[in-house]
Symmetry: D2
Amino acid sequence: MGIEGSRQEAQSDRIRLGMVGGGQGAFIGAVHRIAARLDDQFALVAGALSSDPARAKASAAEIGIAPDRSYGSYEEMAKAESARPDGIEAVSIVTPNNVHAPAARAFLEAGIHVICDKPMTTTVAEAEGLVDLVKKTGKVFVLTHNYTGYPMIRQARAMVAAGELGDIRVVQVEYPQDWLTERAELSGSKQAEWRTDPKRSGAGGSIGDIGTHAYNLAAFVSGLETEALLAQLTTFVPGRLLDDDVQILLRYHGGARGMLWASQVAVGNENGLKLRVYGTKGGLEWTQADPNYLWFTRFGEPRQLLTRAGAGAGPQAARVSRVPAGHPEGYLEGFATIYAEAARAIRAARSGAAPDADVIYPTVEDGLEGMRFIEAAVASSKGGNVWTRLR
Amino acid sequence: MGIEGSRQEAQSDRIRLGMVGGGQGAFIGAVHRIAARLDDQFALVAGALSSDPARAKASAAEIGIAPDRSYGSYEEMAKAESARPDGIEAVSIVTPNNVHAPAARAFLEAGIHVICDKPMTTTVAEAEGLVDLVKKTGKVFVLTHNYTGYPMIRQARAMVAAGELGDIRVVQVEYPQDWLTERAELSGSKQAEWRTDPKRSGAGGSIGDIGTHAYNLAAFVSGLETEALLAQLTTFVPGRLLDDDVQILLRYHGGARGMLWASQVAVGNENGLKLRVYGTKGGLEWTQADPNYLWFTRFGEPRQLLTRAGAGAGPQAARVSRVPAGHPEGYLEGFATIYAEAARAIRAARSGAAPDADVIYPTVEDGLEGMRFIEAAVASSKGGNVWTRLR
Amino acid sequence: MGIEGSRQEAQSDRIRLGMVGGGQGAFIGAVHRIAARLDDQFALVAGALSSDPARAKASAAEIGIAPDRSYGSYEEMAKAESARPDGIEAVSIVTPNNVHAPAARAFLEAGIHVICDKPMTTTVAEAEGLVDLVKKTGKVFVLTHNYTGYPMIRQARAMVAAGELGDIRVVQVEYPQDWLTERAELSGSKQAEWRTDPKRSGAGGSIGDIGTHAYNLAAFVSGLETEALLAQLTTFVPGRLLDDDVQILLRYHGGARGMLWASQVAVGNENGLKLRVYGTKGGLEWTQADPNYLWFTRFGEPRQLLTRAGAGAGPQAARVSRVPAGHPEGYLEGFATIYAEAARAIRAARSGAAPDADVIYPTVEDGLEGMRFIEAAVASSKGGNVWTRLR
Amino acid sequence: MGIEGSRQEAQSDRIRLGMVGGGQGAFIGAVHRIAARLDDQFALVAGALSSDPARAKASAAEIGIAPDRSYGSYEEMAKAESARPDGIEAVSIVTPNNVHAPAARAFLEAGIHVICDKPMTTTVAEAEGLVDLVKKTGKVFVLTHNYTGYPMIRQARAMVAAGELGDIRVVQVEYPQDWLTERAELSGSKQAEWRTDPKRSGAGGSIGDIGTHAYNLAAFVSGLETEALLAQLTTFVPGRLLDDDVQILLRYHGGARGMLWASQVAVGNENGLKLRVYGTKGGLEWTQADPNYLWFTRFGEPRQLLTRAGAGAGPQAARVSRVPAGHPEGYLEGFATIYAEAARAIRAARSGAAPDADVIYPTVEDGLEGMRFIEAAVASSKGGNVWTRLR
């Protein structure tokens, strides 16, 4: 195998978890459940898995949720679970975007920690409301910008923070896909349907679905704050109601410049999230499809290929690694790391403590930032591609 | 995300599982536990996690095994668990090699299914005994040649079986590592210690640890049976007792020729398992470090890069995929697939049925084949690198 | 070797060539000379290799130009050579940008064909003048946008033209370098000195040096015409007088959208020219550092890796290939193809004919387009990053 | 462009060169001519381009050889040219293998330097005769193992020689192709015809054509000497008279072990020459299809990707580079370097001096070693795959 196991998985005292959405036919629900299970920190014990009662019930049975804890709505679940002595401590919200905010509010107000999919809401106003509510309730709120859980992304962030790249000058981030090249929303794809429906997705199409991931990742690694953006959103597929291609220029405080491209019509790309960061002293390059690698160059030296858990990867990567170098970890492991970080924060909250300083996860403020990004981009694009501030 | 979720995880009626080995400090134990948990088919309820009683106890507590089901030895565990009405149905054996056979015998004789790490035993004779015992008891026996769980390996096997490569001519398989380039077994690495100790590993060093994986993978994909081999085993690091580099020529029935290289001293390689298969009509290439890709060429046509769950990947890959194309799956997912297949076989056995025809896992016969491979290679090498039959 | 030689090199009746610039210490002069020589179509017989007379003389001697045909200035050379019965038929102009236009005029007016480095001039006005003069004189004018000579770029262009990508939607082109990350122009680099000097380079720094290459390549392959651009030019290195990073949005006639990035401060990039084109039916991807490959995907099918002279590469690539598939061709071969195309055009002109229809090279109009691109980008950037038309 | 031009091309005082073979339809003749021309060190002035007189004449006319210096046979050419005051100084022999030795003898005996394609002869005895004759005549003899001309191969050799890898333990070299997967020799391919004909190729098929390249390259870089080999040669394609797949184990003096694979039936491989060398301190990896890269790992450190003319490439690579880092050089440039080295040796011989110490080219002794390799491999294979010494 190569190296010693570096990481303790498994806990006997699991956190009781509920789930909203994620019934049969939903893709992301199963991903959240595997992620929650992988490090054995959570026990899924309740659910409002579908707005369709029959489907909710069947889905619950299938994944081993007791019938009396399968609910017909998140409101009902929040109320019932908060009344039980063994009620859920946390909930995962994995619905279309428009349900995120009301569901999150219901659980936060019921004293239940929230793990929520992205984009966080459908408007900035909703997002601001959530920020306030999280502050008021003191509950843990984790947004599943799952790509921040990849070990080599943690490594990249640590290297930037340690000054190994010098002052950042240029950020290049992109997220091309091709699955909406044709009008899949008319062919029965549930995934395509709600993502191209403004009622369920909000004002952004590809910008909300994948653009926010790209934007968040760039900020997470570079540590930069956006001053303004200039966006060109396009709908290439006739009849589609939301953008399927996004081209953005970014200006960061401090003078760095960025470009962001997200597309759902770039034929030959599956989930091509890629980040490049260049500074006065060095450069980094990372690709989601091959996430165990991080290219690093110090100016004037040969390119280095750092590998997860390999030589050159530091403690921030090791902390969230599960298997030795050369054995690939993937999407589910990165997602599971978000859950593992959430578990650390929730366990700290149990005892009234702050989580350890090295616990990192996307917060409600990151969710607000993502909504500001979407609204600013939509406004910039509609306004003739002009520089638009985020706040 | 791109595509609909294609796979049902999670079961309420989990299989009760025990574990032998895998206490604190062991790498592979945690891997098996994650793999067992990932698809929610197993509940780990008992263990004999270490031959050191204090460590066994502490390890059990840490991973949530009840104190009364943490045992001091596998013999004790087999006896006690088979006597309980809620006793374990299956056991995972994740010890050094020399414990595999006696532990497996104890559980099989107690009527408990076995999931066992590889190489299966330390001698061919032991392996033959296990084959007989599995036959006699009718229990499920799964060997964790985990690389056979990768979706694109399933794809490759299906393509060969469907004749897409024509008649196979050449097989090239290799598994280079570099972690034993220096004498790590003297520096406190538990992993290195037992792997270089003939008492615990058997007659083979790198050939047993990684050579058997390479050999098994080549057979799994190509469907070929070995006629004879010619081996050159080398111990490069002074003072080491077992081989750390293996170079083998293979002759398959039907005329195909193969080369196998495994090394633990190839600097720059982490876990570089790679398989290439060439036939009269096409060729395939796969690398473990980037397991979501499969190169395929039909003679006279451009090379194609097939991707897990992407265009060109068929039902055999889809059946064992969990996330859409472009989101990488890794080592743990492949390992988990072995457990998922074991679960299918064990559930079938519960009802006295045979598992579905599409359930595939490495068997006790594959384990015997691996031991024959090791013994033939050691004999060939000692005998002056001469062709040696496997049976 | 693999395949039959597909291409006739060598000619006894070589075209007599002169050179302006390219003396000792100049990089690009040697490249042009190798390119001219590679297919044996030219004989270099005259030169005004340096504005420094001693260096001009020494340089001429070194490369075998007779002393009486080594000139002190291009004016002198144009006059003297056009008066000789065995005078040069064509001239290569490989000076800093500010000399291109006056030198080209001198030779065109003397009845001599011109091969000229890029960017073509320092202003649009100069470029328009050259267009007129070429029209008036009827001489061949070839601009060395050398990347258009790569076989797989020819292949890509042919595939787009044949409709294999459908209607083009998105173009992504980039040209990152890192050699000007620090202020190399102060450390004695002749290359850096003139490229960062507005007097010799014109109004654009990186945009002229490499941005024009990227822009030209995108147009060459996609066949699209630019409607407008929106540019953000940045000078990151303190004290530098011209831009060293360029970020541009492009709108093409017909609705396609593009992004162009060129940078000389992107640490870890050498000459990272990369082009991606996406249409309604397919997508293409090509990288200069690995020029013998072209990724091609038909929507819904596996990715294909087309190779120069390999399966899947068509006649347009074969026509400009010299060695079999799998043997890499590189930068000099692509450059030589521009010279070989120039030779075909010049030979046709000798006999008063038009060159064959398949002869392709960047023209004086392409040079004008490049100057419009530079001026529009500089204007857009200075004007607050607003959409700017090219004409 | 990035960096200053580092290399002086071009010479007025060109070496007069003749060629044997390489007429119309021959692939490798054109390659040699481009290689000879690229650095402007040779003038091709005479030829015996084909054994077919009409074709010889037409070929000569096409490439600009004067009619009176186009000969009907190499014997005639050697005699006539050695009698001329302006006769050729060197000759390139680019015929099928069986002509190499007699032609080389004729020119050496006529006092003419020889550049000869590989394998050098068809038997060891012939090769030994050539070694003696070269020694006796004192003429320069260069064997075109062209892959030794690649800059990153020079770099690799220099790193091994400097001890950066420590003591070499394992060499892995392979050269897979697929062009003889079917019986191309029956479909009119001249290349396939003579390469599969024992009369013209000698006792080896793929082993002579590509196996010798792989073997030579491994020795060139590693500096190791072979003690013995054990070979398995296979003819997969029915009816073919020579081997089309070669699998070899190598034992080097000093204890290193090697594996060599060459194949002409490995579908999906074009010219997949690849070399890996592992020592006690580091490892190297190089692939011909991507020749500007060299992977280098120091044990325990991250992998580095060294690039031709880039950071980390030393003087041995720079000495034979023509363009800046990031601009790919290819097969023809590597081949041209062999010619440039030959020119240095021949110029030194003109003045009776030894060439500079840094001039490196494959010699007549290397050619003998290649023939010993072929004969030993054929003998080992026929004798039941037994260890066979090379001398």
